[in-house]
Symmetry: C2
Subunit: 148 residues, 2 copies
DNA sequence: TAGAAAACCTAGTGAAATACTAGGGAATGA
DNA sequence: TCATTCCCTAGTATTTCACTAGGTTTTCTA
């Protein structure tokens, strides 16, 4: 039940782009540095995000990446599904084309995995990049208050 | 975010033992056969469950395995934690001894993974083997009604 | 009391995934 | 033109997964 670095790095990178939303294209090396991620590896992940339409790229000098939608319109669920595949603790309850087993009708364990899938999806789909920006701001304010 | 066969097979085997609770020790080969699991592999998984105190074994002919507590007292969360380790989508929010990262205090992604962890744990901890027996019974009854 | 049935134990193994690295090419702004 | 940046394919060490192999030990029963 672990997320791989694909999902984790992907969310970090997308959040970084959200923080810089409106400042033109952000080069990948700066994202990689700020988040301590191998640039070459992140390149492969962002290629997947680009092909899925979550980010746009600008080539050449002063190029980089931009969110293709506003932070309010992108959920963590969107990012995770692109990088880790459909949300499902087991294949027989996959969100898309679940692998059928012989007695899916009566399998009691299956209904448990479906509940796990739904609760994970509910959490991830309810959080947008904008929510994260808000949360970040709140934390900074709190930390400021603390030091007064 | 996938469960391995360890967790899946483990839950199936424990549910099988719950269905046979009160009938003395159940030999492993019968559990393996009923659930289409490699007996030798299941042996290794049930050894873990035994060492964790979830099942008791009876050696020798007519021996087998028994739940060490009643089905009401064993949750799916108990089984999953024993076979898959602490519930956590990433190590920094592990239920036991989370790996600290340099800025855990301010990491916004971290709080997302904590919410995922909690929602999964809530589901798994809320379901006992007795609940599964109930659900199984309900399904059988419904299927019986259908065929009248 | 032999022997079958069962649990118990350690080690090996092929396949797949993970988390990268290597080494380029192609577009574009200054 | 040339530095900067994205784009692409391929390779690779490590780890995990899902087993299999081949035993030993305990205990019931005939």
């Amino acid at each position: 039940m672990k997320l791989s670095t694909k999902g984790r790095y992907g969310v970090k990178a997308m959040f970084d782009l959200a923080q810089n939303y409106g400042s033109g294209p952000i080069p990948l090396n700066s994202i990689a540095q700020r988040n301590s991620i191998s640039e070459h590896y992140l390149e492969q992940l962002i290629a997947v995000l680009r092909k899925a339409g979550l980010v746009k790229s600008v080539r050449g000098a002063q190029g980089g990446y931009i969110l293709s939608k506003s932070p309010e319109a992108i959920t963590i669920g969107d990012i995770i599904r692109v990088l880790e595949g459909p949300i499902a603790p087991v294949d027989c309850v996959s969100e898309e084309e679940p692998e059928p087993c012989n007695n899916a009708e009566f399998c009691v364990t299956r209904s448990i995995w479906a509940r796990v899938r739904d609760s994970v999806a509910d959490v991830l789909d309810s959080i947008t990049l904008a929510d994260m920006l808000e949360e970040e701001k709140k934390r900074r304010d709190e930390s400021y208050m603390y030091y007064i």
